[in-house]
Structure formats: C-alpha cells, structure tokens
C-alpha cells in the first residue's frame, strides 16, 4: 500500500522531530535529584501548585505539541514538509541538549552555581514573579515601539530631504555622518538631564540610533533614482510632490528597509543599555536588579524573554518588508 507507506514516513519524521523533547521529559522524570540545595518549593500556577520540574516538563510538553501541530500542518505542502524535515535533526539535538543541561545544571549541579542554573531553575523566575517580568517586558516594548517608530518617521523624513535637496545634503549630510557613528548611549548623560522623564530620555536615544541608518539609506535610495523615471513621470503629468512620493520614495523603499533592519539591531542594543543605565523598568532594568542579588536564573529568564521578543519583532519587520517589496526580483515566490 503506497498511501500507507507515505503516512508511515510522515509519522516517523514527526516522531523523530519531537523525540528529543520526549527524551528530555523522561530524563527529568526519572533521573533522581542528587544535588541537595535546589529549591523544589511549589508555586501557584493556573490553579495548581507546581515546582520547577513540573513547569519545565510543561514547557517541554508545549514544545512537543507545537512541533507536532507544525508537522501535521507541514504535511499539507511539499515545501513546508521539506523545511520541517530539514529542521528535524536540529530539534532533536535541542531536546538532547536540554536533557543534558537539565542533568548537569539541576540534577547534579556540576555547573558552577549560581551562575549556570539548569533549564528548570530558570523557569523559577517565571513562577516566582511572572507578572513582574511581564510588566518589565511591556515597559521595554513600549519604549522600543515609541523610539523605533518615531526614529523611522524622522529618518525617512530627513532622508527624503537630504536626498532631494542638494542644499540640505550639503549642510546636513556631514553632520549626519559624524554624529551617526557615535553609539547612541554615549548621549545618555545629556539625555537624562535634558529630558523630563527617564522614559523620554531613552526614547530619544533609540530615536537617534534608528534615525541615522534610516536617514542615510533613504537619502541614498532617493538619490539613486534613475533620471529616466523622473522624466517619464513628468511627461505623464507629475509635479514635484508626485516625483518625490510616487517615484523617488518607492524607488528608495528597498534601501529604506535595509536601513530599518540595521536600525532594529541598533535599537535592541540601545534599549537594553539604556534600561540598564537608568530606567525604572524594562528587561534591562530587571537584569540589573537581579544581578545585584546574584539571582542569575532571573538574568537568564530575562535573556530568554528578549530572545523571543526581539526575534518576533524581527519577524514582523521582515513580514512587512516582504509585503512592501513584493515587486522585487528574488523576493517573489
């Protein structure tokens, strides 16, 4: 039976994909707790009392469900399936790595403590003060959104002016080039004294670090618009405003997105540094505050949240870029 064979093959691949995490659950359940000073205190969570091992196994179970669902969905398309099976080995390795880390970090505590807690130990931070971490994440997100969006708006705006008017280019481009290479956090002392609240000071820092790459790349995109396109547009009735917004800006769009991608990396760095240096909240603040108490599991927890948050933001930007640049060669599927 050919069809049966296919189903079997799919089931096999999906099973392999999640088997690493299954092994991690088994290891966590069966390996005895050798090290004595690991806290197995129970915390209320969703109506239950759970300890760190329960939480860890729950996370693994969620991962298994997620990749199981992904696999069943991927079966539908040939390309999706190819991608899924390609990543199967990596997922398996992740599961094994988690199991190993669990044994060395939590069960035996061979890794130096308190610097390298096990995966379950990190989850303790979420069990203890999940809502506090959430509040700090929201603070970071607000700060980042405000700075990033304002920075992109200012960046595109000045970029258009620099690219379009040679006079503006003459006077502004050198200033942009010199101030642009200075890491934004260097302005921190000024920002903190000049702005009424720490929040607005940090927004200012993110704005300038986003502004520089976006402005310079927008300008170069506008400047490189072929003359022929302007000329054709003029014979079709276009006046200056149309030439700027319906010829130069769309032409510059790929470069604007290059600027935005660079800017987002700068923005993450500036955000965390600004928070570590003087904010009443945010993930950077949380890391700093936890470090003082040697609560490194909390530092790891914040790092994991950042990893997830920043990759989601990067994905969102990439999605917008893909939509906006559908017309480009190579970006089209």
């Amino acid at each position: 039976m050919k069809g049966n064979n296919k189903v079997l093959r799919h089931a096999n691949a999906i099973l392999f994909s999640i088997s690493g995490f299954i092994i991690a659950i088994i290891v966590n359940t069966l390996v005895p707790q050798v090290a004595s000073d690991v806290s197995l205190e129970e915390y209320p969570f969703a109506g239950f009392l759970v300890n760190i091992n329960d939480a860890y196994r729950l996370v693994l179970a969620l991962l298994i469900l997620w990749y199981l669902g992904n696999g069943l969905y991927a079966v539908k398309s040939k390309e999706g399936w190819k991608k899924y099976t390609k990543q199967a080995k990596f997922r398996f390795a992740c599961g094994i790595a988690l199991a190993l880390w669990d044994v060395l970090g939590t069960k035996l505590e061979v890794l130096p403590q308190p610097f390298f807690p096990g995966p379950a130990g990190i989850l303790r931070a979420f069990l203890m003060e999940g809502s506090f971490i959430f509040e700090n994440t929201l603070y970071s997100l607000r700060l980042l959104a405000a700075g990033f969006i304002l920075g992109v708006i200012f960046g595109v705006g000045t970029g258009i002016l620099i690219g379009w008017f040679p006079k503006v280019y003459y006077w502004v481009a050198p200033v942009l080039n010199i101030t642009g290479v200075i890491p934004a956090v260097a302005w921190m002392p000024f920002a903190l004294t000049l702005f009424p609240t720490p929040f607005s000071a940090a927004v200012f820092l993110i704005v300038i670090c986003v502004w520089f790459p976006v402005a310079s790349l927008t300008a170069s995109g506008v400047q490189s618009t072929p003359k022929a396109q302007f000329e054709v547009a003029r014979t079709l009735g276009a006046k200056t405003v149309t030439l700027v917004f319906r010829v130069a800006v769309p032409h510059a769009l790929p470069q604007i997105f290059t600027g935005i991608n660079t800017a987002s990396a700068f923005a993450f760095t500036t955000l965390v540094m600004a928070e570590m240096m003087g904010q009443p909240g945010g993930l950077g603040y949380y890391i700093n505050a936890s470090k003082v108490w040697s609560a490194y599991y909390k530092v790891f927890a914040a790092i994991i949240v950042m990893a997830i948050l920043f990759s989601v933001i990067t994905k969102v930007v990439a999605w917008i870029e893909h939509r906006a640049l559908r017309w480009q060669k190579g970006l089209l599927k």
Partner: protein, 259 residues
C-alpha cells in the same frame, strides 16, 4: 491632414564644457503635421536624441523656437508622451498600475479606469495585468511603456529608440503594434532610431541628421502604402538610396563595389 502640429525654427543647442563648446544642434528647422509618423535617423552624436529631448521639454535650446500648436514648449507635459529605450517602467508597479500611472497622477483614474483595460487589450497583454515588470519580457515591457505613454491621449508620442535593445522578431512585432495604435488613436509619432529598415517601415517622412555640428541634412518622403513589405522592390530601392546617402554623408566615403 495637413494641419501643422509641431514647428521647430532655427533651433540651436550648444553644450559647454570647461573650455569646450560642442554644437549639438545648429539651424534645425522642421515641421510635423498632425497624424504624421516622422523618423529621425543618423549616426550617434548627430543630435537626434537632443532634438527629441527638446521637443519633450526636458531641455531648452540656446536660440530658436519649438512650438506645439503655436504655443512654445517650456516644460514636459502630458501633450507629449515619451518612451525610452528600456528600463523606464516603474518596477514597483504592476503592468496595470504602470499603464494607469498617468491617470492616477492627474486624479482621473476613477473616471477613466476603462481606458487602462482598453490599452491592455490593444497591446495584447491580457492576463499580465498583475505581473511586475521583472516578470515580463523586454518586448512586453516596451509595449507597456508605449501604452503608458498613450494613456493621457498625448498629441505627440516621442519614441527614443524604444526597440533598440530588442531582438529583431520582437522589434517587428512592436513596429506593427505602433502602426496599429497610430491608426486607432491617430497620434502623431516622432521616432529616433539608428535602424534604416525600421524608419522606412514606419515613417511618412525620414529626417536624416549628420554630426559635428548636429544638423538636419535631408528629409525624405516615403510614399509607400501600408502594410509595407520589408522585402518589396520599392522598399529595397528606398533602403539602398538611404544607405548610399549615409555613405555620402560620412566624412570619408567608402569605396563601392560592383558585382
């Protein structure tokens, strides 16, 4: 049909370097009638593109007048459509939106939407409305460029070697499309080309230009009926005459061979 639409009188255009002056155009006189197809041919550097750009309004002469319907040409306008050699389509717009561009810029897209579809079928690109320029062939792209230039119903269509970068089959196809569009829309067309066959196949009149200084050396009427046969006796006769003229026009005449 003998209404003058374009008049060029004593036009002179000089390009200045630091210490050099190049006479791009001197003593250019030409008038074009409504509905006429005029080709401008000549070796490179004879100023044919310069002349077309003056007519388009991208550039201004040092002296002399360019009049469209008796009015001096000051800047580019929708009265003069313009088609370039290649790559002037807006890559971020679909075929449909490229053609609709002129209507959208003028804010009349809603009222005249139907014209876009009319042109898409006129150039035979039904089914490609949603394609982006990089997804279509060079020949298709040039047809789109021509439709885009005609969407605002210009009085004159200026063609700057629009078929220069195409292979000869695609070229012939577009030449026929141009004649068809001209017949349907009765648009006056001025074509700059270096292809003698193309000029004979399309034109009512051929303007021959010579370089250094760029000027019109001769204007030839082509009285053949359409459709013209590219291998017909009359066609070939004109072709030979024209080529001979070019040899005479060149600085050093080449020896002729008799078979």
């Amino acid at each position: 049909m003998s209404e003058k639409i374009l008049e060029i009188r004593d036009v002179k255009r000089v390009y200045k370097d630091e210490d050099n002056e190049v006479d791009a155009l001197v003593d250019v006189n030409l008038s074009v009638e409504k509905g006429e197809f005029v080709s401008i041919i000549g070796a490179s550097g004879c100023g044919k593109t310069t002349l077309l750009r003056l007519i388009a309004g991208f550039d201004k002469p040092q002296s002399g007048d360019l009049l469209l319907d008796g009015e001096p040409i000051k800047e580019p306008s929708i009265e003069r459509g313009y088609v370039l050699q290649q790559g002037s389509l807006f890559p971020w717009l679909t075929v449909h939106d490229n053609i609709a561009y002129g209507l959208k810029v003028r804010g009349v897209y809603k009222e005249e939407k139907a014209r876009v579809d009319e042109f898409i079928s006129l150039i035979g690109l039904e089914g490609f409305e949603k394609a982006f320029p990089h997804q279509i062939s060079g020949g298709m792209a040039q047809r789109v460029a021509i439709a885009r230039a005609l969407i605002n119903d210009p009085e004159i269509l200026l063609l700057d070697e629009p078929m220069g970068a195409l292979d000869s089959f695609t070229r012939a196809d577009i030449q026929d499309k141009l004649l068809e569009l001209r017949k349907k829309k009765n648009t006056t067309m001025i074509l700059v080309t270096h292809d003698v066959d193309e000029a004979i196949y399309l034109s009512d009149r051929i303007v021959i230009m010579t370089p250094r200084p760029g000027k019109i050396s001769e204007v030839i009427d082509i009285d053949l009926p359409h459709p013209r046969h590219r291998g017909g006796t009359e066609f070939l006769k004109i072709r030979r005459e024209l080529l001979e003229k070019f040899h005479l026009a060149a600085a050093e005449p080449e020896p002729e061979y008799m078979i």
